[in-house]
Amino acid sequence: MKNIVLLNGSSHPQLAKKISECLGVELSSCTLGKFSNQETNVEIKSSVREKHVYIIQSGCGRVNDNVIELFILIQACRMGSAKRITVVTPLFPYSRQSEKSQRKRLPQHQIGSEIMNSLTQHSGSSPSLPQGSFAQSFMGMSMGESGYRQWCARAGTLVANLLQAAGADHLIAMDLHDPQYQGFFQIPVDLIYAEPCIIQWIRSEIPNWRQAVVVSPDAGGAKRATSICNKLNLDFALIHKEDLANTKESMGLVGEVQGRPTIILDDMIDSGSTIGLASEILKRHGATEIYAIAVHGVFSGPALEIINRSPVTAVACTNTVPQEEFRNKCPKLKTIDIAPMLGEIIRRTFYGESVSQLFVHDEQA
């Protein structure tokens, strides 16, 4: 492949190397580091003039450093007269901050409801006051007497704009948390799905997959889970969380898993709490084995301990985020390799062939 340049950022060099082996193209040499005052230092060693450049950078590890490094790499290629710059982000940075679900991450939300419950039990609050404002005025929270709610910054649009401002012409992203995110961009965005790789893994690694039930750990992921069930001809179940009142009964399972192996499907494992909770519920309802499959295995904080202690049989994640360290700490963790898929996408976009062909071939049962 002539006139192609593959550059990798420092977030996930192993994946970039695998992709370059799949494509048969050498990674262009590029020194990445920091100046002594912590500013990022990027030097591209070979010419990029009139070439099609692919920059591979994942939004993991030290996210801000990797994001700035990505912008500087794009800028350097633009200044070096590259013909076209495509950014390949296996895990798109700040992808979960594009919509209102951020509110669920704030602890105030839960504190509010717990205090509300204790208030109604002890003091018999006057029924004329709406519950919400009673709790707020009692706590005198930073919500303030004016009733101003906290404004949580949502960095999703910002990152999209910055990528375009730095000079990217095309974006290839894998399994974005929020598919509508494509609309934030003026430049073409190719979304690729790890689904074919996941289906292949299920068929080869889960011994009795034909009796399995695919479970979505929350309502938002139902569509993702049903798509896989339909392709494999399996049954489906859903775990439903109630916001307020944290009683255990309300963590409902919709569907039957008694005596069956189960496969929990999610797009990301970050804190591990969703998977931990979901696996407890499935165990209680009589599942024989519990497999958890996620596209992005971020595993921040105590996630690996939670998984080690939970009734999960095995966890499989793709290598959009470097997985070696996690595998050393958690023997239940397996990796699904998506480097060949990314390599195929790069080859097809380079030659101008159709990418959608990759997503229609897996109809065998």
């Binding site: 005052n37 990029v48 700035i68 912008f71 500087i72 004016s146 101003y148 404004w151 960095a155 921040s300």
Partner: protein, 320 residues
């Protein structure tokens, strides 16, 4: 109905300077929490309304620069979507200012990238101090105020250096000659220059002094002190040529890596930096370090920008 007011938001890079500026302006810092989610992404929460207000975000390009830069961008963006009337980014030390030209093949112009990013995030105005090259102002389409630390430096020299009338201003390299001559003219002093001669590549360069420093107090003036290698060698050269004492005054004291050891072991009497970059911790390790407080200059610039008054008064006069 009511006119808008100044809101000062501070990032995590230099909270002490932000507090000083707010105190000087007679307001409190706005209620903003800047932290990280567990996966290391930056989380910004603004705790009060900024609708239709004049917002000033104070963040310096120092320490963990990339983290601070992302914090700044996200704060600007948050204020923009919260309908602030005008957003000014106050950057006492502009990040990536030294990468302002393509000095070799495929080098990025990171200063231009930062300018683009600030504009895209939604900043309407930028206030900074002593840019490495004042042409960086041209990278922006928005108005930029480049303040000068020079008046504060002049006042420091007059008040704190004994026998300053018998001093000589020295520039540690050819690039800073203009800055040093300007100070020398104001104080009516002589001027000297140190020139680096490179015999071959990879050989320690020889420093040549151009000018006479015999029996005089030498004052080295530069815009930034990073690893301090240049300052240490310059001090040695000056003492060898007969200077009685060597002071160094720099605006941005980055002081990274082994800088403090170099200063402690060098022949410098004192190194003076402004507080554009926090260095309280470093002062404990290096007794030769002294501070010039520029919070007053920044606060005055903010007040004048808000009121629509002229800022050029600050270019020639040190604030009280």
């Amino acid at each position: 109905m009511s006119s808008n007011s100044i809101r000062i938001l501070a990032g995590n890079s230099h909270p002490a300077l932000a507090k000083l500026i707010a105190k000087r302006l007679g307001t409190d810092l706005a209620n903003v929490t800047v932290s990280k989610y567990s996966n290391q992404e930056t989380a910004v929460t603004i705790g009060e309304s900024v609708r239709d207000e004049d917002v000033f975000i104070i963040q310096s390009g120092c320490g963990e620069i990339n983290d601070h830069l992302m914090e700044l961008l996200i704060m600007i963006n948050a204020c923009k979507t919260a309908s602030a009337r005008r957003i000014t980014a106050v950057l006492p030390c502009f990040p990536y200012a030294r990468q302002d030209k393509k000095d070799k093949s495929r080098a990025p112009i990171s200063a231009k990238l930062v300018a683009n990013m600030l504009t895209v995030a939604g900043a309407d105005h930028v206030i900074t101090m002593d840019l490495h090259a004042s042409q960086i102002q041209g990278f922006f389409d928005r108005p930029v105020d480049n303040l000068y630390g020079e008046p504060s430096v002049l006042r420091y020299i007059r008040e704190n250096i004994p026998d300053w009338k018998n001093a000589i201003i020295v520039s540690p390299d050819a690039g800073g000659a203009k800055r040093a001559t300007s100070i020398a003219d104001y104080l009516d002093l002589d001027f000297a220059l140190i020139h680096k001669e490179r015999k071959k590549a990879n050989e320690v360069s020889r420093m040549v002094l151009v000018g006479d420093v015999k029996d005089k107090v030498a004052i080295l003036v530069d815009d930034m002190a990073d690893t301090c290698g240049t300052l240490g060698l310059a001090a040695k050269t000056l003492m060898e040529n007969g200077a009685s004492a060597v002071y160094a005054i720099v605006i941005h004291g980055v002081l990274s890596g082994k800088a403090l050891d170099v200063i402690n072991n060098s022949l410098l009497t004192r190194v003076v930096v402004t507080n554009t970059i926090p260095h309280a911790e470093k002062k404990k390790l290096c007794p030769k370090l002294d501070t010039i407080d520029v919070s007053a200059v920044l606060a005055e610039a903010i007040r004048r920008t808000h009121n629509g008054e002229s800022v050029s008064y600050l270019f020639g006069h040190a604030t009280i």
